[in-house]
C-alpha cells in the first residue's frame, strides 16, 4: 500500500516536472515507505528527530528517483538492436525499480536514425524496444509492466545528417509518464 502511494506520487512528480507540489504531500507517505525499508521497527519514538529523518529519507528517495529518471534512455550502434554493456547499469536501475514497484507500468519506446526506410526503421525501433524490455524483465521487472512501441525515425531528438545526431536518435526510452 505504501509502495503504491509512493509510486503514484512519484509518477505525479514525473508527469508534472514543471510544477512543484507542496512538500508535505510528497514527504509524508514517501517517508513512511522509506522508514519501512531502512529503519528498525519502532524507531520513531522521538517525534522531532523522526520527522527530520523522515524528511531526509524522503529527500534521498526523491533524489534517487530523480537520478533514475534522468537516465531513462539506452543507446544502440547503427543497425544494431542488442542492448549494450554501457547501458547495463541504467537497465538494472530501472529493472530493480520496476521489480520493487509492481504497480508501476512503463512504455519502452524504440527509435532509429534516418539511415533506412521509415518502415524498416519502425521495425528496428520495435526490436530495440523489445530487447530493452527483455533486459528489464531479466533484471527483475515483470513482463506485464512493460509495453513496447516504436517510433522508428519519425520522432528524431536531433535532425541533422551527422553521426553525433544519429547516435542520439538510435535509442530506446523507458517512459514512466506515458501510461
Amino acid at each position: 500500500m505504501n509502495k503504491l502511494i509512493l509510486s503514484v506520487l512519484l509518477l505525479n512528480l514525473l508527469a508534472a516536472c514543471s510544477s512543484n507540489p507542496p512538500k508535505e504531500e510528497v514527504a509524508e507517505p514517501a517517508a513512511t515507505s522509506a522508514s519501512a525499508a531502512s529503519e528498525a521497527p519502532g524507531a520513531a519514538a522521538q517525534e522531532t528527530a523522526a520527522a527530520d529523518t523522515r524528511a531526509a529519507d524522503a529527500q534521498a528517495a526523491a533524489d534517487a528517483q530523480a537520478a533514475l529518471m534522468e537516465k531513462n534512455s539506452v543507446y544502440f550502434p547503427f543497425d544494431v538492436d542488442a542492448v549494450q554493456d554501457a547501458d547495463r547499469e541504467t537497465i538494472m536501475n530501472h529493472a530493480e525499480y520496476l521489480a520493487s514497484h509492481p504497480d508501476v507500468k512503463v512504455r519502452v519506446e524504440g527509435n532509429a536514425d534516418e539511415r533506412g526506410s521509415s518502415e524498416y526503421n519502425l521495425g528496428l525501433g520495435q526490436r530495440r524496444a523489445n530487447n530493452t524490455k527483455r533486459a528489464l524483465v531479466l533484471g527483475g521487472a515483470s513482463d506485464s509492466q512493460i509495453e513496447t512501441v516504436s517510433y522508428g525515425e519519425e520522432k528524431p531528438r536531433c535532425s541533422d545528417h551527422n553521426e553525433a545526431c544519429w547516435a542520439q536518435n538510435r535509442r530506446a526510452d523507458i517512459n514512466y509518464s506515458a501510461q
Binding site: D79, E114, R115, G116, S117, S118, E119, Y120, L122, G123, L124, Q126, R127, N130, E147, T148, V149, S150, Y151, G152, E154, K155, S159, H161, A178
Partner: protein, 417 residues
Amino acid sequence: MRRWILSCLLSFAVPAHAVLNIEITGAGEHQTPVSLVRFAGDAAIAQNLLDIVGSDLNRTGLFKLVDPAGKTPHEPRDIRPSEWVGVEAVLIGSIESQPEGKVAVKFRLFDLVRNAELLSQVVTAREDQVRAIGHRIADLVYERMTGSPGVFSTRIAYVSRDEGVYRLVVADSDGDNEQALLTSQEPIMSPSWSPDGRQIAYVSFEKRRAMVYVQSLSSRKRTLIADFPGSNSAPAWSPDGRQIAMVLTRDGESQIYLASSNGGQLRRITHSDAIDTEPSFSPDGKSLLFTSDRGGSPQIYRVSIEDNDVQRLTFESGNAFSPRYHPDGNSFVFAHFNDGVFHIAVHDLESRQTQVLTAGGWEKKPSFAPNGKMILFATEVQGRGILATVSSDGRVKQKMVAQRGDIREPMWGPFLK
C-alpha cells in the same frame, strides 16, 4: 463517360494554389517538337489551359514546345503545313461558354508530318475545373505522341511535416491542388492507394503507436483496420482491392500478414526472425516484394503468396529498401543506401541488373507512375524534404519545392477508372 471521369476527379476540388516551384533537368533521348496554340474563346481560360498542358508536357522531357510565333489556327483547315517546318504536331482548339458556368472545350491534335488529325474531342466541365481539363488534354496528347497513357490526371499522396503538425496530403501529379486528408500532432506514415484510387491506407500514430487506417477520399470516412499490440504498419493493397498486406509485430518481429481490406481474416505470410517489411504486390497479385534483413543487411526479397516461398532478389553492396513493382511486373524500383547516400535504382527481374537512376542524396520511398514512365520519390533540398521525379530511363529529373514544410513518404496513385 468523359464527363463522369472529370466529376470524379474533382469531387473535392478547391481553388488551386501554386505551392510548388518545379525545377526540371535533363531531356529525353528524342524530344518531339510540338506546338500548342492558345485556344479560341475566353482568353483567361485559354491561357490557363495553355499553361497547364505546356507544363505537363514539358515536365516529361519528351517534348520540345515550339512557339507558334503568332500563328493562331483554331480549325484544321487554317493550318498550312509549310508554315510549321520542324514541328511534328500542333494542338488547336476552342472554348465555348455554356449555361450554369460551364465550358465546352473542343481540342484537336494535328499531325503535320502525315497531314492527319490525331485527336479530336470535346470536354464539358465547370469553369473551375480548368486544371482537370488541361491535365486531360495533356494525357491524350501524350498518349497519341508516345503510345503510353498520360498520368497528368492521376494523383499522388504524401505526408507533410510542418512545426510538429503532420498532414496526409493528396495532390495532383504535378503537386498542385493539395487536399489534406488527415491532420495530426503525431506522425503519419506509408500512404498506400487502393487500386481504384478511392481509398488510402496509411499508418497513424494518433493513438501513440503505429496503427493502420483506411480512409475514403470522397466521404473522408475512415476505419481502423489493425491495432494489434506493438507496431501495425506498411499497408499495401492487392491489385483486386480485396486484400491488404501489412506488417505486424504482434508475434515479436516485424512480419508480413495478409488481411481482407477491412482487416479481418489475418494470415501470416513471412516466417523469419528478421525484420520483414514494406510489402508490395506484383501486378498479377501472386507475390509480394519486401525488405528484409534476414541475410544480415536489408535487401529486397520476394515471397509467393500461395506457398510462402521466399527468394532473395538484390545482392547489392550497402542496403536496399522500399521495393515497388513496375506496372508491367518485369522490374522494380527501390532505394539503395550505399556509402552514406541513398540512390533511386531499378532492378530488372530477368537480367538481374540494377540501374542507378539518380545522382544520390537523401532519396527515399520511390514509386512508379501508373504508366511506368516516371518515378516519384522523396529527397531533400537545404535540409527540407521535397518531392522529386525521375524518368524510368534516368534522363529527366524534376524537383518540386514546396514553399514550406517537410515532405515525406510520397506514393503515386493509380489511373482513375
